[in-house]
Amino acid sequence: MKRGLQENEQEEGGGPSGGYQKSIKWSTKQDGEKELEEQGASWECLPQEILLHIFQYLPLLDRAFASLVCRGWNQAFHMPELWRCFEFELNQPASSYLKATHPELIKQIIKKHSNHLQYVSFKVDSSRESAEAACNILSQLVNCSLKTLGLISTARPSFMEMPKSHFISALTVVFVNSKSLSSLKIDDTPVDDPSLKVLVANNSDTLKLLKMSSCPHVSPAGIMCVADQCHGLRELALNYHLLSDELLIALSSEKHVHLEHLRIDVVSENPGQQFHTIKKSSWDAMVRHSPKFNLVMYFYLYEEEFDPFFRDEIPVTHLYFGRSVSKDVLGRVGLTCPRLVELVVCANGLRPLDEELIRIAQRCTQLSAIGLGECEVSCSAFVEFVKMCGDRLKQLSIMEEVLVPDHRYELDDIHWEVSKHLGRVWFPDMMPTW
């Protein structure tokens, strides 16, 4: 960039210190300039609001180039409105292929714009240094009144690898200074109960979204504190071990707004882990209080660990089985999940899921999306399933290997049958074969 400026200065024998680049072919002569000014059509006359609007469409790098054109554009570049949102990308060359946000830019932002920042996210790679760099920046955001904060690991959860105290103190800076946090994403971090208390103490009125899946240092009591105080909470994501009857009741209390979205990750640490059960009455209370809420459940369990689940009716809407799940459990899903909207089965096994699918089509009348990975379904049963669901199936993602030809249908004619019932052209998902 500096080079560009020098070239211009040399060519024009030193113009204004900002330097006009030859971005417009006809703008360098004296007469030309006068002409343009008379017409009122030169670039530097562009009103700041319009500049701002245009700059908002530009990616950061292009905006930075534009800011070097002239003083006016440089001022526009630093307008607070352009610094409300920022995503810090922290990558190390040894652990990532992607570029990081330039350290100089980070310095500038902290110096000039930290009090403009409102919607901030940090994307870190799998190295400890990146996580620590993120926390260093966080610690300096004392003038910030953030509305949104996202701590996102793009590979391994590196926030878990840094010293917990460093993380907590950085996070606390934000919690204390931003009294109007609305949205907080801190999955896969070492956040703990005390820091949640600080969050609640300062932001209970404004907190609407809290995502903290896989935060092992939080206890059910910690999350209860949030549910009890943050009555505006509309979205919550956490792990099953934090879920309790009390929590659901607290979220359904009169003071609480309608919950819109509850995500629960059920993850097994060791094979044979025992999981507690949630009473049907607690779920009923939730549904009564927030009739339209989405209950999203991700299961990462070994087959034998499903015992406590799907025994009673549960208002789950989006169900994802990340590992192999048995025929028996899928049968129970059909019986206990009347609100089911989306179902994804990563793997099952080699026995056909015909009955189970048909039952799901019958009982889960809201089902609109289904994905089947390593499973088996006979073609006839599959066609029957699609027929029963009809065009409410907006997403039908079936691996080609799932469909087992039988006496009625070959693989080649099944896509036609299914397309007929769906009302649109459909093919199974294919994988390359050699």
Binding site: Q56, C85, D125, A347, L350, G373, Q395, W434
Partner: protein
């Protein structure tokens, strides 16, 4: 006076000369004795056929067409021995290639010709050969890959400078790929479904060209010298710098002869089964079959068009003349699909700068990569597959899915480019387009894949081969484990491990990742990427309502995705949702 310049070939010139001199003493004849082969063919048309892929005499239209009206023919293969030692191509692939060249040489011998293996680089070799052999024609099979097209453009320029006529024919693919692209409004189809739709609109596949037999080649001669083997013989593995001591016999012998034999066996088996469906997977499917054809298609020992027509004929015979469905040609069409997608994209084998590839924040982790490549992950299913790959050069496509998923979006979160490089080294049927395309597909980096299903390195193997025999075959150290524990031996009690004479952590590594944890994290990562794609309409497993995030926040996130992904949205209505 009249001076007659007569150029004679070799020593036989002397006797002819003296005869003409004695017959006509007024002639002044200038003898130019040439050593070996210089300038021996100034009369007549001299042709070079350049083998690259297409290592066959059947369905070789470039060769067939260039033979017409030719006086001398030399079939060449150019090989850079320095490159062999330092390249990332492993010993099995070199051996396969050398088998192919030997087979070609043997077949050409039957036609009173030979194969000329020329050491060097094409841009250096050709000017020399054009001169030395007084070449008028050059022929070769069309290479659709970007690097190939660039190289061929350079050679065409050299040829035109030397006044050499170039004959190029398409025979490595079923169709003219540029026509496919044209039919799709100038862009290669990015979903397989769209590709199939375009294929349905194309004209019929051209019939394979007649095989080069004595009848076809009868008017050509090949000038062969007594030292042909020294100068132009097919090198051995040792000559290329490979250590061959202890090398087991090739499971996949190269060459056109072998390819054609396998084709017959392949068709026989299909006819016997009378069923053209995808065969059910069992433990035997994982092993190299004597009917396997993919390496032969890659090197061109087997013509894809011949295979296509033989399949068609067989189907019509068995199914009484009904029209074959596209799925019959699955193997061939996938290959064609990737060639088409790659042909105009020099960055096809990279993530950066590749308009069809998602920019995914893969991890850099050379240690983890090495464990995967060496079969030291601690997951027997993965390690056995990688061992078979390294030993034999081929693995079943489901095995490829398993190891590719493990390396990339399933467990290790390492870039698909790294996996692609390892396959390039070890896999016999991996060529640039198909290898890169398949890796992008399997890592969900492109082609609008559904990413929710993840192959479990324990469960998937167990379901494919419950007995565990495949593991025992390639990982003998685990032979003593019963089927119950062979896929997750770290869970076996101590006494079982002792009985198996294999302690996990000592005789065989512990698992390098916790699959449950790794896959959980990775599916979240994939979700993050896909959620940012405003054009993605597939299963997103419940996008969270972005409550609390301002619309401007969304806007900045949108810029984080590759704008290219938005540009390459498929035109057709075939994408789900």
């Amino acid at each position: 006076f009249v001076g007659v310049f007569t150029v004679f070939r070799g020593l036989s010139a002397v006797s002819t000369c003296s005869q003409s001199c004695s017959a006509n003493p007024t002639l002044t004849t200038l003898f130019i004795f040439n050593a070996a082969m210089k300038n021996s063919d100034s009369m007549g048309v001299n042709t070079i056929h350049w083998f690259r892929k297409g290592l066959r005499l059947h369905d070789n239209p470039a060769l067939r067409d260039s033979i017409r009206g030719t006086d001398t023919l030399r079939c060449i293969y150019i090989l850079d021995p320095w490159f062999a030692g330092s390249s990332s191509v492993g010993i099995n692939r070199w051996r396969f290639l050398l088998h192919c060249l030997e087979d070609l040489d043997a077949s050409l011998r039957k036609l009173n010709s030979r194969l000329f293996v020329i050491r060097g680089q094409p841009t250096d070799v050709f000017p020399r050969l054009f001169r030395e052999w007084n070449i008028a024609r050059l022929s070769y099979e069309y290479d659709s890959e970007p690097f190939g097209k660039e190289r061929d453009a350079a050679i065409q320029k050299l040829a035109s400078e030397a006044g050499v006529e170039v004959t190029v024919r398409i025979s490595h693919t079923l169709y003219n790929l540029d026509k496919i692209i044209e039919l799709n409004d100038g862009q290669p189809p990015l979903t397989y479904k769209r590709f199939q739709a375009i294929i349905n609109q194309m004209d019929a596949v051209e019939l394979p060209a007649e095989t080069i037999i004595s009848k076809v080649i009868k008017n050509c001669t090949t000038p062969i010298t007594h030292d042909h083997d020294d100068k132009f013989g097919v090198p051995s593995l040792e000559e290329l710098g490979f250590e061959t001591e202890g090398l087991s016999t090739a499971v996949w012998p190269g060459g056109e002869t072998e390819a054609l034999m396998r084709l017959e066996r392949h068709l026989e088996r299909k006819a016997w089964v009378a069923n053209f469906e995808r065969p059910r997977m069992n433990s035997n499917s994982l092993l190299a079959a004597p009917t396997g054809l993919s390496p032969y298609l890659r090197f061109g020992c087997l013509s894809c068009r011949l295979f296509y027509f033989k399949l068609t004929d067989l189907y019509k015979k068995v199914k009484k003349n009904s029209t074959p469905p596209l799925s019959l040609y699955g193997q061939l069409l996938w290959r064609e699909f990737f060639y088409t997608t790659a042909t105009n994209n020099p960055c096809f084998d990279k993530m950066e700068g590749n308009p069809v590839c998602l920019q995914i924040p893969w991890d850099r982790n050379p240690e983890a990569l090495a464990k995967w490549a060496e079969g030291q992950t601690g997951y027997p299913w993965i390690d056995a597959i990688m061992t078979q790959l390294r030993q034999e050069g081929w693995i079943h496509h489901l095995a490829r899915h398993a190891v590719a998923c493990f390396l990339t979006r399933g467990d290790l979160w390492i870039s698909w480019e790294e996996g692609m490089k390892v396959f390039e080294e070890l896999l016999l049927d991996a060529d640039w387009s198909v290898n890169a395309g398949s890796w992008m597909w399997l890592s969900c980096s492109s082609f609008f894949q559904q990413f929710f299903h993840c192959y479990c390195p324990v469960g998937f193997g167990r379901r494919t081969d419950p007995s565990g025999d495949y593991i025992r075959r390639y990982l003998p150290v685990l032979r003593g484990f019963p089927a119950k524990y062979i896929y997750d031996p770290w869970n076996a009690p101590e006494d079982v491990q002792k009985a198996a004479k294999c302690i996990i952590g000592t005789n065989y590594p512990r698992p390098m990742v916790n699959h449950a944890e790794a896959s959980r994290v990775n599916i979240e990562r994939m979700k993050q990427i896909y959620q940012q794609l405003s054009c993605y309409k597939g299963l997103v497993i419940s996008v969270s309502s972005s409550y609390g995030e301002s619309s401007r926040d969304q806007a900045s996130l949108r810029f984080a995705c590759t704008r290219a992904s938005q540009r390459t949205l498929p035109q057709g209505p075939l994408f789900i949702g």
